[in-house]
């Protein structure tokens, strides 16, 4: 455990000392703010439009902050995370392989599993901070409107689980190569696949369709955004995270097979 924390701590600090982290963080918050502003502005417009139609009675009661602002905001942030998480995880193994510090790690009395868990915790810690910073949008809505807090919390949980799953996938991509760009592109492609894998589900027979739907991250994330926390989704995210780390460990260990 000590080794895990030593590696996690170093990884976390090294992310913060690299300019990539700040570029990613700034980009993420800038886009997030832009989405939020536009969604709120549109919501505002709809409210004033609805209330101007007197004959419709109290139609504005049908407008819902969770559905019209938070849900699309989370969906948009998820797409941004698909692109940005690989930018954070691309260094983790690739950079160590390139500079030779990989040799230090692998010749220390530390298991490859500990290395992977340590690196995962370091990167997940950074991503968790990134997601936590978007809670400002929820706080603003709670202060000036009346969103459903439970639904909002489920959405944030979904976003966090999604982001951490992406970290596990990104780490795996990084463990495959010593080139950061290849790591980033591989991670990005794998994450996009997780997003679109359910597309042919409707035209397929029932069982393969259901399997593809279960594999798609959008399916589970979409449910959580609407406030439904299904055990099935939690198991999905947990198994994706553990699976990603398992593959990473195998890939790190594979130097020893060749």
């Amino acid at each position: 455990m000590r080794n895990v924390f030593a590696i996690a701590g170093r990884e976390f600090r090294s992310i913060f000392t690299s300019p990539i982290a700040y570029v990613v963080l700034t980009g993420f918050l800038l886009l997030g703010g832009w989405f939020f502003f536009n969604l709120v502005a549109r919501f505002n417009l709809l409210v004033s439009l609805y209330s101007s139609f007197q004959q419709m009675g109290d139609a504005s009661a049908q407008l819902n902050l969770n559905e019209m602002v938070l849900a699309p905001l989370f969906q948009n942030l998820a797409v941004v995370l698909v692109i940005l998480v690989p930018m954070i995880t691309m260094r983790s193994f690739a950079e160590e392989k390139r500079t030779g510090t990989y040799e230090l790690l692998l010749t220390s009395p530390v298991g490859t599993g500990q290395i992977v868990v340590g690196k995962f915790l370091g990167a997940a810690g950074f991503i968790a901070i990134m997601v936590a910073l978007t809670s400002i949008y929820g706080l603003i809505l709670a202060a000036y409107g009346n969103p459903e807090i439970g639904v909002m919390a489920a959405g944030y949980l979904g976003l966090l689980l999604l982001a951490i799953t992406f970290v596990a996938v990104g780490l795996f991509a990084s463990s495959l190569t010593e080139n950061q760009i290849i790591a980033a592109v591989t991670g990005l492609v794998m994450l996009l696949l997780l997003f679109v894998i359910a597309w042919p589900a409707d035209s397929l027979p029932e069982t393969p369709g259901a399997i593809l739907r279960y594999l798609a991250v959008t399916e589970h994330f979409g449910q959580m955004v609407t406030g439904i926390i299904d055990t099935k989704s939690l198991i999905y995210f947990a198994s994706m995270i553990v699976g990603g780390m398992f593959l990473t460990q195998r890939s790190v260990e594979s130097v020893r097979w060749r």
Binding site: R13, S14, G100, T101, Y102, E103, L105, L106, T107, P109
Partner: protein
């Protein structure tokens, strides 16, 4: 202290190291000598547990590198060809990190780090970022990380490569100071380094050991240069003869 027995490493069809055997006694400095690409780095990587051998065994301090890798790694300090430094860390935080990785108990971390810093003459730069150090200082930090956990065995892969003459003299002095208490294996292709530092010489060519002897025996009748060239050419001739048969 180190016993290598018929150690072999294959990459697919290519044999990088072919059935090599040698021993290094406790407290001695063994020079691992050979042209570039002879298999020095591969051998060292097998000794330190970075690469598994394809066949054969190697024991370090009584532990087998393949089956008791963790015990071996605890007892070995390794300086790879490029010192494994994280440029964004300071000398002090880097050495603390390595000490933790190598399993130095928490209570002794600071002491182990400070001892390594002092020993390698890094006191003046202890607070600087590794990225800002000169090549000579980087090499010293590399040595410091290899011995921060007080290992019984030090494996140094070309420790003086790419340094200027003054730095080479400094690093050699530091290595000489380390011998005596520890077993040191040092790879190089610089012959004077061997005569200045090593008690025993192993010459390797294209993955095979062509000569293993105490330095004083080797240099009794001829200079080390002559011994080296003779061993290498004899080996190459033997290989050609083999190939034509």
């Amino acid at each position: 202290m180190i016993e290598v027995h018929e150690l072999t490493k294959r990459y697919g069809d290519r044999v990088a190291v072919e059935s090599i055997s040698f021993t290094a006694e406790k407290g001695r400095v063994l020079g691992f000598l050979g042209p570039n690409g002879a298999g020095k780095t591969t051998t060292m990587r097998m000794l330190t547990g970075f690469l598994p051998p394809s066949s054969g065994t190697a024991r370090v301090a009584g532990y087998d590198v393949a089956t008791q890798s963790d015990e071996v790694r605890r007892r070995i300090g390794y300086l790879p060809e490029n010192p494994p430094l994280y440029p964004e860390m300071t000398v002090r935080s880097y050495l603390t990190f390595v000490a933790r990785l190598k399993g130095v108990p928490r209570a002794h971390l600071a002491a182990a780090r400070d001892r390594a810093i002092e020993r390698m003459g890094l006191t003046d730069v202890a607070g600087r970022l590794l990225a800002h150090l000169s090549k000579g200082y980087k090499q010293r930090v590399g040595l410091a990380q290899a011995l921060v956990h007080e290992p019984e065995v030090l494996v140094l892969d070309e420790p003086t490569i790419g340094l200027d003459p003054r730095q080479i003299i400094e690093i050699r002095g530091l290595i000489r100071g380390l011998a005596g208490e520890r077993t040191v294996i040092l790879s190089t292709h610089i012959l004077p380094e061997v005569s200045q530092l090593c008690d025993k010489v192993v010459i390797i060519n294209e993955g095979r050991i062509v000569c293993e002897d105490l330095r004083e025996n080797l240099t009794r009748n001829a200079s080390l240069e002559e011994v080296f060239l003779r061993s290498i050419t004899r080996d190459t001739a033997a290989r050609e003869a083999e190939a034509t048969v």
